[in-house]
Symmetry: C2
Subunit: 290 residues, 2 copies
Amino acid sequence: MADKRRLDDPQLWRLLWRGEEQPSARSGLTVGRIVRAGIELADEAGLEALSMRRVAERLGVGAMSLYTYVPGKQELVVLMVEEVHGELPTDPPAAAGATGGATDVLVGDAPADGDALAGDAPADGDALAGGDRGESQPGWRAGLRRMAEEYWDLYQRHEWLLDVPLTRPATGPNLMDRYERDIALVDGIGLDEFEMTATIELIYEHVAGAARRLRAIRRDAEASGLSDEEWWYRLLPTLNQLLADRNYPVTSRVGEALSAPHLDTGYLFHFGLERILDGIEAHIARRRAG
Amino acid sequence: MADKRRLDDPQLWRLLWRGEEQPSARSGLTVGRIVRAGIELADEAGLEALSMRRVAERLGVGAMSLYTYVPGKQELVVLMVEEVHGELPTDPPAAAGATGGATDVLVGDAPADGDALAGDAPADGDALAGGDRGESQPGWRAGLRRMAEEYWDLYQRHEWLLDVPLTRPATGPNLMDRYERDIALVDGIGLDEFEMTATIELIYEHVAGAARRLRAIRRDAEASGLSDEEWWYRLLPTLNQLLADRNYPVTSRVGEALSAPHLDTGYLFHFGLERILDGIEAHIARRRAG
DNA sequence: ACAGCGTACCGTACAAAGTACGAATGGCGC
DNA sequence: GCGCCATTCGTACTTTGTACGGTACGCTGT
């Protein structure tokens, strides 16, 4: 981990935007293979298990050989991030074009609610999509919703992304392509440039935050071998004793009404997303009215 | 870092809820002193510079002495988190009571906009507080806004908080008190228990996310010795060459309109926060109407 | 005041990490 | 075939968390 920052190194940019690669005659290594090995390792065991030695081992080479191709671990991680963003769909931004027509095909229900988010409707379903109210929704809502879900899925596939520290955008083609697509989703809907940027970042943040929360729950559950419920139950006596003289009226009332499984499966994600979209919509409407 | 999880250890709970401490006769150590030393160190040099040896050195004891008081580094960090949450104000949740009266004192402009967020109004100010539209705002808005700003300030003082991996709530009295206060802010305003929880978490996430973004910008700027603007400017030729054949119409249009300083100072934070509050408000109104 | 004891202290050591250094080695151009 | 030089990587140094077990300090009982 020698020194802190080499990340704005032009070398890193060249790596991010590298083209086709010839495998090395001697070992068959390429930057791409190294990056992919790193991704596999991180997928399986997490970012903290990612070490240069282990990546090398997986590739059947010595640890130091990697340094011929990649300046260091930091840079490897940046390249991994760029690489996995290539998994995101790249088809054009759907019909989420400009003015937000009344009857968009994608509108009306939470789309692509399938795989990673299956079966997560909590007690009252209407907290979710919000598509079941009478009014029609502007087209950009569906676009942003889909965007959020694509990132959500990405985070499910590559949880280590949640641990990568943000740095100055060291952006490769995949990230760049996606950003263009994402920002285009809010183009021409009545926001200025600042607001467009802030909206997209807001949703990025929200997805990552919700994914982080979900992962924390999941991880702790399996680490302790206890489900969240069991864990709380186990702790109750200790807790009650400690809290004897304090009182937390709202917390306990709310806590009793909740049970972990409901928060488990993306409720935070959906609720927050729809509230954000509501907020953007309200902002645009207000702007347009005033 | 022996094994992964000891965090639901009852010992940790005892430490979190420990009462008064007698300083050790021999070294003068207490858990509190160790925790405070850790906080100082992390404040100055970041979480990745926090090592047991360095904490011990700062306290004038051997590294292994710490282990008499604290089970390990992980636990120390948890204790640090609990400790700094004691800095948050603990006065009652202001006037942000129940139904949201028409004329609340706290309403009408972004309150406590002072220190950490000074002078951050971007091009068009109305993207911010939103308090300048004719209508009055419900009282809970001011409460949540203030809450967000308190956490924002906390993150400015203790940036390392942004690097602490979330775990199952290993909660001490400070965190517990604050959670009670926070959740009370949304009590009785027309949300069910799930929504109350999700709302608070949504804002937690947002504050952390925005703080993380800001820190990334700041850190990279000082690491490279270049401001964000200079950095981009420096990179332009490389960039243009790389992007020659691709085109990013929206990105470049938006990018040109933006300049870093505007995003620098909490614009993302404010814009996102107000949008979230708008979204909650819209949700409540819709619920009430339907 | 002193003996003795238990616990607080910590020196040493080990594994695993990133990566600097420089020797070896093997494929490619002639 | 020959020689060159980039590629490969063994070794080593530093820093980390923390296990182990010895040492010595201060409190307690006389």
